[in-house]
């Protein structure tokens, strides 16, 4: 080459952190340039919130707390579930964008470069967590705008609630990355990720588990969303958390670890 390049200067940051940071910036750049998918996925929880409050609100609230609850009580009941549903919905976007990215030639380029191997996935995960948290804040703002108020949450409880949301996002994102990696194209990815939007529908997000058929209650009660929703309700509204707290944390840690090792194993396989 006519202009020899200067050798790379040693960095204070480890290569893993540096490369992951580079990949994160790449993914955030994608999201900023093409925000339509994130916005579309955001629409689902917002529409559901408005639908359940303003269209079904009277009927639904009648079934809460032994009847006689008014609309504001149902909003309070609904918002924590919808915040977690927002996470499920945006992580579908993660699965789709990971599967689309894997079909790109640039991933093959990354694999032949002397970069930290995991940085491609870590960049996707952190980028997706950032997007999901932003979506949660947005849906939360809509909730507040239509009348949601935390009754008695202390500063510590707010921090715990935020921590739970981030942990839950991290867990679902790693699972979504694995789903994206095993999907040959965007359609397959969005199909494979369907449970992430379906599970909140059969959780305690819209109606209490007690109101469901008896045989179904164990499924609804112990799937990942219900404990997280009940914990969030407890933190923000002062309802009983009970065993849901550690159940939610166990689910989050379990799914995150499972998703991480699954994704890593799939990514480390020889590409087709």
């Amino acid at each position: 080459m006519s202009t020899p390049l200067a050798p790379a200067r040693p960095s204070r940051l480890s290569p893993a952190v540096r490369d992951s940071n580079t990949m994160l910036r790449r993914n955030l750049l994608h999201a900023r340039r093409y925000p339509s998918m994130t916005l579309n996925l955001l629409l689902t929880p917002v529409m559901l919130l408005l639908l359940f409050v303003y269209i079904f609100g009277d009927v639904m609230s009648a079934g809460i707390g032994g009847g006689g609850a008014d609309r504001s009580e149902y909003i309070a009941y609904l918002v924590p579930g919808l915040l977690l549903m927002t996470i499920g919905s945006t992580t579908i976007g993660t699965a789709v964008s990971v599967s689309m990215d894997m079909t790109e030639g640039i991933i093959a380029r990354f694999r032949t470069m002397a970069i930290h191997r995991g940085s491609v996935l870590i960049g996707h995960v952190i980028g997706s967590v950032v997007q999901s948290v932003m979506s949660v804040v947005l849906v939360g703002a809509v909730g507040v705008a239509i009348g949601f108020r935390s009754t008695d949450a202390t500063a510590l409880e707010w921090v715990a609630a935020f921590g739970l949301l981030v942990l839950f996002t991290l867990a679902l994102t790693w699972i979504a990355v694995g789903m994206g990696l095993i999907s040959p194209n965007a359609e397959a990815a969005s199909n494979n990720a369907l449970p992430l939007i379906f599970l909140p529908l059969i959780s305690s997000a819209f109606v209490p588990v007690d109101a469901m058929p008896g045989w179904f209650q164990p499924i609804a009660e112990y799937q990942p969303f219900t404990p997280a929703i009940e914990t969030l309700r407890g933190l923000l509204l002062g309802t009983e958390i009970g065993h849901n707290g550690w159940l939610a944390v166990a689910w989050c840690l379990g799914l995150a670890v499972l998703g991480y090792f699954w994704s890593k194993a799939v990514f480390d396989r020889d590409p087709k």
Partner: protein, 330 residues
């Protein structure tokens, strides 16, 4: 990997003829289908090596293995002195790869693609900007630098692709079918780029299905067919491998043709074209002997042309004489 094929790698550390890439008995199969059936390679540093073969011969698979993208099922290889299986990360630090399918990020601009590479090579921000600007300029992409790469033409994408490959200043560059799908003008631009790389001391490993391209660029050519190397050598050496050189005499007067045909009994007749073919290797000595002989027998042809076998003849002779594309395998 079988240890029986162990051999001492000749490393590229200052010997008279350092080896950039070497392989012994490389094999790869996908299920029942054997794609590479034991190939041996030895590519001197600073040279251009072309792997030539029809579709499905295993060219891309060879590049994928040597560039650490996929693992081999058997055999051993060393790239830039590093064992491919034992230290892939060291191999990666020494190579640059431009695959058959565009390896640019279409969602971001050309400049952002370049800066992404600079970041991944851990250049400082200032160095990165400088290198990106220089390479964009060199590959005539400065004007398009701020546009998304997905809007680029095929030739521009390839140029961006190679520019990205050069960010880390690799010593060995793999180019998998660098000109496939390019128009003639872009192809010549690409050839110029490849020649320029070699003058800088870079080793180039390229695959192609165009004989002309291998002839133009490569110091050594290996013909890959059905997962095996059918022949290897310089373009001239390969051409000498097969017969086919001849001197062709064409006549306009049928009676002159007939008397010449009687006089030159060794010649192959083409009665319709009124032409005779005399086997010859095309050397000056043989040509003079033929001319003397024609003079002494009083034969006077209206047109005399010398035909040497070209790589097409070699290619078809070695790959079974068919240009039917086989089933495309990876």
């Amino acid at each position: 990997m079988p240890s029986s094929v162990m051999s001492t790698p000749k490393q590229g550390d200052g010997h008279a003829s350092p080896v950039a890439v070497s392989a012994v008995g490389l094999r790869k199969s996908y299920g029942e289908k054997t794609v590479l059936d034991g190939i041996d390679l030895r590519i001197p540093a600073g040279s251009v090596f072309a792997l030539l073969g029809p579709n499905g011969a295993g060219k891309t698979t060879a590049v994928k293995i040597l560039s650490t993208l996929i693992g081999a099922d058997g055999g051993q290889a060393w790239v830039a002195g590093h064992d491919l299986a034992g230290d892939p990360q060291a191999v990666r630090a020494a190579i640059g790869v431009t695959g058959q399918f565009s390896a640019v990020d279409g969602l971001i601009t050309g400049e952002e693609n370049m800066l992404l590479m600079a970041d991944l090579h851990h250049l400082s921000r200032r160095e990165g900007r400088q290198v990106a600007a220089e390479l964009l300029e060199r590959f005539d992409l400065t004007e398009a630098a701020k546009k998304p790469a997905s809007t680029y033409s095929g030739g521009m994408k390839r140029r961006l692709d190679i520019a990205m490959t050069l960010v880390g200043d690799p010593r060995i560059i793999f180019l998998d079918e660098p000109t496939t799908g390019l128009d003639p003008r872009s192809r010549h631009t690409m050839w110029g780029i490849i020649r320029e790389l070699v003058t800088g001391g870079v080793t180039v490993f390229l695959t192609t299905q165009y004989l002309e391209e291998a002839d133009e660029l490569a110091d050594r050519i290996a013909v890959l067919n059905d997962g095996r190397i059918a022949a290897e050598g310089s373009a001239d050496e390969l051409k000498r491998l097969i017969p086919g050189g001849h001197v062709r005499l064409r006549f306009t007067d049928p009676s002159a043709y007939r008397s010449a045909a009687t006089a030159l009994r060794e010649a192959t007749r083409d009665d319709e074209a009124l032409a005779l073919q005399i086997p010859s290797d095309g050397s000056q000595r043989e040509l003079r002997a033929i001319l003397d002989w024609l003079d002494s027998t009083g034969v006077e042809a209206d047109e005399l042309t010398v035909h040497t076998p070209d790589l097409d003849d070699v290619f078809f002779a070695l790959t079974g004489g068919t240009d039917q594309p086989k089933e495309a395998v990876r």
